[in-house]
Symmetry: C2
Subunit: 432 residues, 2 copies
């Protein structure tokens, strides 16, 4: 082979050019703009972050639909998100709740983002209102419960707790930060499930899509002087099991000033009525399937977070399973009318009972044993009626169960009325 002689200057030149290229390429790479397409990296969210807006950076669709719970005020036949005065719509409620704050103010519950404003402006508030009343109203709660424990939280007065609470219901009430896993955040729910031998951590995702609603949409009471938030579920979630529990612990919210019956105000037992054997629950449908149906925005598909009546967008809510949406919504309408009629008859019966017991109580000769029976029946009737009245679906969460309960409520109320009248008759006979 022939040797090729290269002058050193040429070699130097080659090296310089190559080194220049390396530097140039490195500079080029380093100066590339950040990617402008694809999924932006997730912002890190603090555990139990109360501010939903921060979570919204990562989940703009869910957050922007949550915002609609403040503006979406479409009214259905029996619900909506407006400040409707229930006492004006149905004046019988004033007598039914006489002696209890609900006779002073009872407004339609509004969307999730109204929760804090509404609880702070209700005329039901007074100096004695416990902090426990905040339990379902704020995404600050998971953090506060973790920091101070629920017992300390519940032992505070409402006004004492107010400075700690800034946010309405939000992401942190149902989700674990960053994993976005659905979680039980309300210690009272965890305890109530445990009392039934259930551990929510073993639940399927579909079960969790109902159970997180039970963080709030349940019947509860404030136990003891510490006003400890407690769900009366030890024996189950049927009205009979709940009544039995309350009778055993001898609990009542107040004494009706006219009948003298020791009564219980039911809260919003949506989860109980729904899960006590309703056809949708038994078929595996979750609360979120109907109230937060999957929805699209462009290419994105997500569970809408403007939690509302399925009757507002039945195509999305009912239409996922039912092909004939017009048919099923008409069916809901029929059932709600049937329940409403039966519910109003129960109210009339309870009011007749109250008036009869009042009259009998005013007669000195009335038979006291019969009067006490009448008062016990008033209690049984009213907690049944209110279980359906306070519930948010006008019976649709479990139509046959709702009607069965209302039939019993009316029966007990009329029996209470009869006992009261008998107590007078017997007193009168004894007098004679």
């Amino acid at each position: 082979m022939r040797k090729i002689s290269i002058p050193p200057i040429a070699i130097t030149l080659i090296i310089v050019v190559l080194a220049g290229l390396v530097v140039g390429l490195l500079l080029f790479i380093n100066n590339q703009p950040a990617p402008t397409r694809g999924v932006p990296p997730l912002a890190v969210i603090e555990a139990m972050e109360p501010v939903s807006e921060k979570w919204g950076v990562n989940f703009p669709n869910q957050y922007s639909t949550l915002l609609r719970t403040k503006t979406n005020n479409v009214r259905t036949a029996f619900g909506g998100s407006e400040k409707v005065d229930k006492l004006a719509v149905d004046p019988m409620l004033v007598e039914l709740f006489a002696g209890y704050p609900f006779s002073k103010g009872y407004e339609e519950d509004r969307g999730h983002l109204w929760s804090l404003e509404d609880v702070r402006t209700t005329p039901r508030l007074n100096d004695k209102t416990p902090g426990t009343c905040y339990s379902c109203k704020s995404s600050d709660n998971p953090r506060l419960w973790a920091e101070m424990g629920m017992a300390a939280y519940d032992a505070m007065k409402f006004t004492e707790l107010s400075p700690e609470i800034e946010q309405p219901i939000g992401c942190a009430n149902c989700h674990e930060a960053n994993t976005m896993r659905l979680i039980v955040t309300n210690p009272a729910l965890e305890e109530a499930l445990a009392a039934q031998g259930k551990d929510w951590k073993t639940f399927t995702r579909q079960e969790m899509r109902s159970v997180v609603c039970a963080n709030c949409h349940v019947e509860y009471y404030f136990k003891g002087d510490g006003k400890y938030l407690t769900f009366p579920w030890e024996g189950g979630v049927t009205i009979e099991a709940i009544e039995k529990y309350y009778d055993q612990v001898a609990f009542s919210d107040w004494e009706h000033p006219e009948s003298g019956a020791k009564l219980i105000k039911m809260q919003h037992p949506d989860y109980e009525l729904f899960s006590a054997g309703s056809t949708h629950y038994n078929a595996g449908v979750a609360c979120a399937d109907c109230h937060m149906p999957y929805t699209r925005d462009g290419a994105a598909k997500f569970s809408t977070h403007d939690v509302k009546s399925p009757l507002i967008e039945p195509g999305k809510s009912c239409g996922t399973c039912h092909t004939d949406v017009a048919y099923v919504t008409e069916r809901v309408n029929t059932i709600q009318q049937q329940v409403n009629t039966t519910m109003l008859n129960a109210e009339k019966a309870i009011i007749d009972a109250i008036q009869a017991i009042k009259l009998a109580g005013e007669q000195p000769g009335s038979d006291q044993a019969l009067l006490e029976e009448a008062r016990a029946l008033h209690r049984s009737a009213q907690l049944r009626w209110d279980f359906i009245a306070a519930e948010n679906s006008m019976g649709f969460h479990n139509p046959e169960e709702a009607l069965r309960i209302l039939a019993t409520a009316t029966d007990f109320a009329r029996q209470a009325q009869t006992k009261a009248i008998q107590s007078m008759a017997l007193g009168s006979t004894a007098k004679n």
Copy 2:
């Protein structure tokens, strides 16, 4: 062209052979055996032929399944085709029907082919029983109604009519001979539909698959001295419309001997409860879809004629539309239990009312106006309760409507009780 000369004997031979072939072929054709495969020709059935066996020659599958209504006695939770004594199962019925033949004998209704035997052996029969009682019991009826007219039929005594009636319920009750078209055969049904401005001849086949059941499975009464069979449907088929009709014509079946209330025995208003807005009716389901589902026998597919509870073969009945048969049958079970519980509570309430009215009626001082109100309420309560109790589905034909009606029945019964007690108290006060 060359001429061919054929001898005449040859021509004759050709003609003879051809003629022989023609005769032979004609004989061959004439002697073919009758076809031995394919559909045999239909036997001609006389119009309104009462004997179902004759129709069975043409429709062996339908006929052989009809025969099973005599042998198929599978019992469900609330029904069956056995001689179950309802008065023994639920002794409250004896008091509810006191003074009326149903307190003497009230047996479970059995399959169609038992109809004649059962109506002739019921202890409810007496010398006054009108022929009208045969109206739903025999396939002789269409012929008899055509021959003598329904008015003449109804004017006869039961025992007078007996020799004319030989067949139980059969083909002629619902079908036109030869065309097999579904037809309304009971003149009372035709008249009841006409009173609502409806002409059954304009109905679709699917509508007819329910309406033919209304030939019998309805509430009816015997109008006037002629005991003219009449359905109380002028204002519609809801219980409120039926009550209004009976009040307007001031009809009652009997006076309760203890309460003095003028009562109505409901028959078997299956069609009314089902068609008054039930979800299955509204969805276009016919009676026959569930009670006579399409079934197979080899290559044949036909509506089974062993009319029975859909719970006996839910796969055929429910499974045509519902994929999860185990789920829907459990659902039926739940609903029937709910209705049964509520129904028994209504019975207790009515019995309490009867006893209170009886007691008040025995006190000379009782307020008579209040007592009359109590009796009117007893009537309203009992016809509602019996509308559901006499109906054959334990409420399942229309669950929410059944529970709504029972709730009202209980309400009215307890109000009746209260009025009765008040009538005594008022009488007592007046006396003082």
